[in-house]
Symmetry: C2
Subunit: 212 residues, 2 copies
Amino acid sequence: MKINVVKNILDANDQMAAENKFFFEKRHIVAVNIMASPGAGKTSLILRTIEGLGEPIAVIEGDIASTFDAEKVGEKQVPVVQINTGGACHLDASMIKTSLKKLSIDKARYLFIENVGNLVCPAEFVLGEKVRVLVASVPEGDDKPFKYPGMFSTVQAVVLNKMDVLPYIDFNVARFMEGVRAVNQEAPVFQVSCRTKEGLQDWIDWLKKIKS
Amino acid sequence: MKINVVKNILDANDQMAAENKFFFEKRHIVAVNIMASPGAGKTSLILRTIEGLGEPIAVIEGDIASTFDAEKVGEKQVPVVQINTGGACHLDASMIKTSLKKLSIDKARYLFIENVGNLVCPAEFVLGEKVRVLVASVPEGDDKPFKYPGMFSTVQAVVLNKMDVLPYIDFNVARFMEGVRAVNQEAPVFQVSCRTKEGLQDWIDWLKKIKS
């Protein structure tokens, strides 16, 4: 019974995500679902990408509470809307559909959707995105792919952020890579620091190759 | 309809948590539910506490997958059992009840329950614990209390870990404290580094004052 309820919710979400996907494809918009633990650097990556991509961008910010991230993105003069889930642990396709009504998106070539900080639940809910990206970060530790295989297996790219603090943290890059490859053989892993800007060009180049 | 289902699940959980609570109280065991983002340092805090507390301890390790944490705790020669949730984003009271059958707990004075790394869902599910503790960490950023008010409001103590990397991270301790106090006026906040062991004595002293 409980399983059926969960299945019904996921089916309804899939249906609405398909509608969102159609909406994006019709407008030639590449929608990117960005997921991560709290504080891994999703907003920082979006800010750096706005600076480096050189294409029109729109942003949907997802948080349980607060509007800090939308304010930071808004300072970059790009269209942005904040979703406050009010407790929910992930974004869903219905929230995206509603938020699109408030977002000036017609000129955008890329839509970045920042999910709620959570390495578990967002993996289960498609939003209509073209690609899913995971932002991991050095201080979280090199064991995270082994512990959160569902999230690491579902993404098309991994951005390993905060490489600038590697000298001060016990983190083995080879072990992290081994963990990623155990569940995901395809996704490129970009080693970056959004603070120092190192490594971001490869990520930008990868984004530019995505066809809407 | 959806809300009713969720309510029923939470009611059933409350009932089983009350049974667990009775089980612990009868044996004079202080059960501590430790919650955090992925990689904030829950296991490290448990390891340091085992070293410093000087009381018999048992541990329940919760993870979606892997047994790394239970292995680390087991090296300290304390009774430990691993729960693998297989995808679920939080521990619940039923998992705790089942795991107690496999845990040698009768001599323990403290039971540390390491929840799944997640700043959202675990806050909703009581396990029968005496106290709830949140491990935050400097690299996650000082805005986390504003973004995850549910979690920060529900705990009796906050351990702010990784203070040793403060010089290398943009983190304002005063802003973090302001965020904690906005949703939680009572909980002590212990500033520690599980790597350098700074600040841990106050946390240990606080634990020792808890009556079972």
